[in-house]
């Protein structure tokens, strides 16, 4: 991987001298993605799947080609991919639309992002569901001993691929097996997994996989829900409107099959085209290369933070993780540390509970949360060195 060449692809890195360590929140966008997204507005700007004029046909072709590219990127078929606004909407779609008439339990973990926890809690409130949480050890790993919580009453097991608090991965293989053995569906929150490693839906075994475009160099406002055809059949309608139906009379509606059934109204064509360009971009670099780069960066980050006396890293420092580390410096409030890093060295860090308040509590973080450094393919060893120096200075306060 030629990091220098990669960095030249990102306009923000040319215009701003910031050290961008907030990629878990959203990544920077390469020129190829920006151009692809704007090409829709400059060259197409029409509706897909409705009108029959030439521009509409071209739009339809570009939109569906994007669906195909993105689906292939995650090892899925085009008709297994539903476009959504983001991961949050994709997760809501599954949790809120699943039929809980015979099975009334959802199993998840306390480590989940609010985007998954809140729909589950809302569904529990509305339908009186039973929600159970797999145990989490102090090092952030999921206690596989709690897998028997997944039983024949479980409708859905909803779990992260990679957490946004520690960068650690869930033992999906075992969880998927336990769920399927019990006849439950598995929903994987891939927001932090798909951008950072090769995720093959066909091999993952899960029934649903949700992810966002903006966390993988794509545009904001576009996300995906990938699902098996049979699994989609178990979902009720979610957002309905134009293009979700075959026929409508005032007495009867015949819904389309997935993915169209879940794509009500005019879609984010520009976003889809941009996300497809992001998939192309990441594929050219190679997800394996990105994963290797992140492993190296994660080790450097951990070494840098561990060299600071009285620092605390959340989650295991030996387990595989993406280049994401949440930590605290003794005596320095996380917001203060992050703000000072920005002020002193223009390092963009996230601080707080990262929309995962119960998760941070489970990891033993204080109420104020922690500081999070999350790196991506464009970050360099030199940037980590500056980060280390800056944190050393702040820790000495």
């Amino acid at each position: 991987m030629d990091i220098k060449k990669i960095r030249a692809d990102f306009p923000v890195l040319q215009s701003s001298k910031a050290i961008y360590f907030d990629s878990a929140c959203t990544t920077l966008k390469p020129r190829a993605v920006i151009d692809a997204e704007s090409s829709y507005y400059a060259e197409l700007s029409a509706c897909a799947g409705r009108s029959h004029h030439a521009l509409a046909k071209k739009t339809e072709a570009a939109f569906e080609a994007s669906r195909g590219k993105i689906a292939r990127f995650v090892g899925a078929k085009p008709d297994e991919l539903v476009f959504t606004k983001n991961t949050t909407e994709a997760l809501n779609l599954v949790v809120r639309s699943l039929d809980y008439s015979t099975r009334k339990k959802i199993v998840t973990t306390p480590l989940e992002h609010h985007s998954l926890l809140l729909p589950i809690m809302e569904q529990k409130r509305r339908e009186g569901l039973n929600v159970e949480y797999l145990s989490v050890a102090s090092d952030g790993s999921i206690d596989e001993g709690s897998l028997p919580l997944i039983d024949r009453s479980t409708a859905l097991v909803a779990i992260h691929h990679t957490t946004n608090t520690t960068g650690m991965r869930a033992p999906l293989e075992k969880i998927v097996k336990a769920a399927h053995d019990a006849g439950a569906l598995v929903l994987v929150d891939g927001a932090q997994g798909v951008p950072h490693s090769r995720v093959d839906f066909s091999k993952l075994g899960a029934d649903f996989l949700a992810f966002s475009g903006h966390k993988m160099c794509g545009p904001t406002g576009i996300g995906c829900l990938v699902g098996r055809k049979e699994a989609f059949e178990k979902l009720d309608t979610f957002i309905v409107g134009g293009e979700t139906v075959e026929t409508v009379s005032l007495s009867e509606v015949k819904w389309k099959r997935a993915p169209k059934r879940f794509e009500g109204g005019i879609q984010n064509y520009a976003g889809a085209i941009g996300l497809a360009a992001a998939c192309d971009y990441l594929s050219r670099i190679g997800m394996q290369n990105i994963e290797e780069h992140e492993k190296k960066m994660a080790k450097l980050l951990i070494d840098a933070i561990q060299s600071i006396p009285n620092s605390t890293i959340y989650g295991s420092t030996s387990a595989p993780r993406s280049a994401l580390v949440s930590f605290n410096l003794k005596g320095i409030a996380p917001h203060q540390a992050a703000l000072m890093a920005d002020s002193l060295s223009k390092i963009a860090l996230r601080s707080g509970v990262f929309c995962a308040e119960p998760g941070m509590k489970a990891l033993g973080a204080p109420k104020e949360g922690a500081v999070r450094a999350s790196l991506y393919l464009y970050n360099t060893e030199e940037e980590v060195r500056v980060f280390a120096e800056t944190m050393q200075k702040i820790a000495k306060l």
Partner: protein
């Protein structure tokens, strides 16, 4: 604590620039929460703290460390100082509006005096008063002063220096403007006129300034002691007769007509100089006119 200060600062800045308005809104939110004993969760305090410590750290890591460790104490002290200065500023403004001087009856230097543009002060119509230097000179320096005013006293060295340096090329005139805020100011002016009758004005004036606090305490007794010390035989009769009442009234009327709002105020060839640095500004003008 700093959100209280931030509120005032950002509200003020918001008048001039819209970019400060979101900060002002956050400060309002924070102040309301603090005032209702809830924690401020706007992050404004943390941002101010981080920005302050980062700024100091670039200059001195030790200083930043000290500030970080005692930030709450600094915040508290800064906030208290802010409210104290706000109180005094408001009190001064009240006095300025009601009494014409922010120190109230005591008079003296008042920062709000600057609100009244010295350019609007009118030069006195006459050159009556105690004078020194060359009456035929092209440069005239007029001082409106009060013998019991500490600011007139503070300017005295500068005035005497000008008389000494430019006396032959400058005409100096002193007009008494006794401020009621200062004890025995009017009586001191009358006493100085009496001393002038016996040719001992400058000695008497020097003694008045030198013993200003004693004069303000003992009044007539102090005037008599100074006169005795200078051997002024006709002082008692002059002072007790009120011989110079009319002269002093004329001087005071002239001051009022000129719009003088504090002492000392100088006019150099009709151009007014008032405020704390007036004597220096007046000298600069004198030098300019003399081509120095």
């Amino acid at each position: 604590m700093l959100c209280f200060v931030a509120l005032a600062v950002f509200l003020f800045l918001s008048i001039f620039s819209a970019k400060y308005r979101p900060l002002a809104r956050r400060a309002i939110d924070c102040v309301v929460k603090k005032a209702t004993l809830r924690p401020c969760d706007t992050g404004l305090d943390e941002e101010i703290k981080a920005a302050s410590i980062s700024g100091i750290m670039k200059l001195s890591p030790q200083g930043a460390s000290f500030l970080n460790r005692h930030f709450e104490a600094f915040s508290l002290a800064f906030t208290l100082l802010f409210f104290l200065s706000l109180f005094f500023a408001a009190q001064g403004l009240y006095n300025f509006v009601v009494y014409g001087n922010c120190n109230g009856f005591e008079g003296g230097f008042c920062v709000y005096s600057g609100l009244q543009n010295a350019a609007f002060l009118k030069a006195p119509a006459s050159l009556d008063g105690v004078s020194a230097g060359n009456p035929g000179a092209n440069v005239t320096l007029i001082e409106f002063g009060c013998y019991t005013c500490p600011y007139t006293k503070a300017a005295e060295d500068g005035v005497l220096g000008m008389i000494s340096r430019y006396g032959g090329r400058m005409h100096y005139v002193y007009k008494a403007f006794p401020l009621p805020a200062h004890a025995y100011s009017r009586e001191a002016a009358l006493a100085a006129f009496c001393a002038n009758d016996e040719g001992k004005y400058w000695e008497y004036r020097a003694a008045l300034f030198e013993n200003q606090s004693d004069v303000q305490t003992r009044g007539p007794a102090a005037f008599k002691d100074i006169a005795d010390g200078l051997g002024l035989s006709g002082f008692d009769a002059c002072y007790s007769s009120g011989k110079h009442n009319d002269l002093l009234q004329k001087s005071t009327d002239e001051c009022t007509a000129s719009g003088i709002y504090g002492t000392p105020t100088f006019f150099v060839n009709g151009k007014a100089f008032a405020g704390p640095g007036a004597v220096f500004d007046a000298e600069n003008e004198v030098k300019r006119l003399l081509g120095e």
